[in-house]
Each structure stands twice: as structure tokens, then as C-alpha cells.
Amino acid sequence: MDISTIFFTIVSVVAVVSALLVVTCKNPINSALSLILTFFCLATFYAMLEAPFMAAIQVIVYAGAIMVLIVFTIMLLNIRADANKKSFHNVPLGIVVGIITLLTAGSFLARGKVSDLPGQITPNIIHQVGHTELIGAVMFTEFILPFEITSILLLAAIVGAVILAKRNLS
């Protein structure tokens, strides 16, 4: 058992536990904070998978932007865990479904087979060229069109958010 495996195990446990906390915490703020923790764990995994750029934007976009937005909203709406109100639906059945989902996923993952065609982007190249640069090269050549679409997507999202959230004109 090498150090990376141990590290992976520890981070995995943290990720899973914090993910569970997201689901189980009655207070949305606690859920949000747990989610941030999960995101950080994932960023750690990305780094371990030699994708530092992904790790970075995971932290920046997810933990930074999105979660801030969420926490902000929770604060804004001043939602508290209301003890009188049920905050869960059928938990046992949920767990059963979750386990079945997991088993199914495990099943197809176990019996499935990923492609093992060797790709060009080996860790060596990443180390030589740099991950961010590589990503950029791919994104602005092969995937230029999706990239452009995201711009429109964001524009549409902004317009939409404004429309939905702005105060009534009347």
C-alpha cells in the first residue's frame, strides 16, 4: 500500500462522508458547507489525477462561485431548519434506491470495459507542456465551438436570472 493509495482512501472517506452530510444535514447551511468540503476533496482527486487545471477551476468555479452563490441565497432567504417541518421524504426507500443504484452502477462498472487505446496525453507530456496549456490547446482548436456555445449559454443564463429575480417593475 503506497502513500498515494492511503491518501486516496482518506480523501475518499472524507468525500463520501461529507457527501452524506450534504444529504443528511437538516440545516441547508451545513449541507452547503459539507458540499464545499466534498468539492475540495474532488479538487484533490483532480490534482492526484494530474489535472491541476481542473483542480483549480473546481475550487474557483464550484467551491468559489457556485457555492458562494448558494450560501448567499440561503442567507438571503434566511432559511433555517424548521424543527416542526419534515425535511425528508421516505428515507429508507431512498436508501434502498441509492443502494440499488450503487449496485447497478457497480455491476455495469465491474462487467464493463473501458477503452485501453493509449492516448497521446501521457503524464510526461503534461509535465513537459503543462496541463493548462494542453487544455487550452484542445479547447480552442477541437472544441472551439462548444466553448463559444458556453458564452451564449452564460448570456442566456444571465438574462434569465435577471428576468426571474429582478424586482417587479410595477
Partner: protein, 100 residues
């Protein structure tokens, strides 16, 4: 290879937890967070696979997923606010004006 399996299993676990969350939680925002959790699980899969396959397409995909997640968050939260304004509630079960 073992490594990949671990990641895939882990992401499957996270995906399942996210799914359970969507199914059992009543708070809309928490539900949304659980969806984010699901997306992140997918992201992990993508990155792990990308690493395994030795091409960056997966990571680019993750980039776009994040963008979309951000956009969804913006729209979604705006909608939650509107909902809260309308009903003084953030409970998904209160959104049952239309049924049958």
C-alpha cells in the same frame, strides 16, 4: 487500472448519494446541491477516464459541465428566490399547485 476502478466506484458512490439526496430532501436548495453533487461525481468520472485514456476531451467536457453548472446555479437560484417571494417557502412539497 486499479486506480481507475477506485475512482469510478467512488464517483458512483457520490452519484448515488446525490441521487438519494434529490429523492429524499424537501428543501429545494438542498436538492439542487445534491444535483450538483451528482454532476461532480460525473466530473470525477470524466477526469479519471480522461487520465486513463490519455486524452483531454474528458477534461474539456468537465470544463463545460462546470460552466453549465454555474449557469444553472444562476438561473436556479433566481428561480428559488422568485419561488420564495411567492410562497415564503423553499419546500419542494409546496410546489404542488398543479397536479393530476
Amino acid at each position: 487500472m486499479d486506480n481507475l476502478s477506485n475512482y469510478l466506484i467512488l464517483s458512483a458512490v457520490l452519484f448515488s448519494i446525490g441521487t438519494i439526496g434529490v429523492l429524499v430532501r424537501r428543501n429545494i436548495i438542498v436538492m439542487f446541491m445534491c444535483i450538483e453533487l451528482m454532476l461532480n461525481a460525473v466530473n470525477l468520472t470524466f477526469v479519471a477516464l480522461s487520465r486513463h485514456l490519455g486524452n483531454l476531451d474528458g477534461q474539456v467536457f468537465v470544463f463545460f459541465i462546470m460552466t453549465v453548472a454555474a449557469a444553472e446555479a444562476a438561473v436556479g437560484l433566481a428561480m428559488f428566490i422568485a419561488f420564495f417571494n411567492n410562497r415564503e417557502s423553499i419546500d419542494a412539497d409546496d410546489a404542488s399547485l398543479m397536479k393530476w
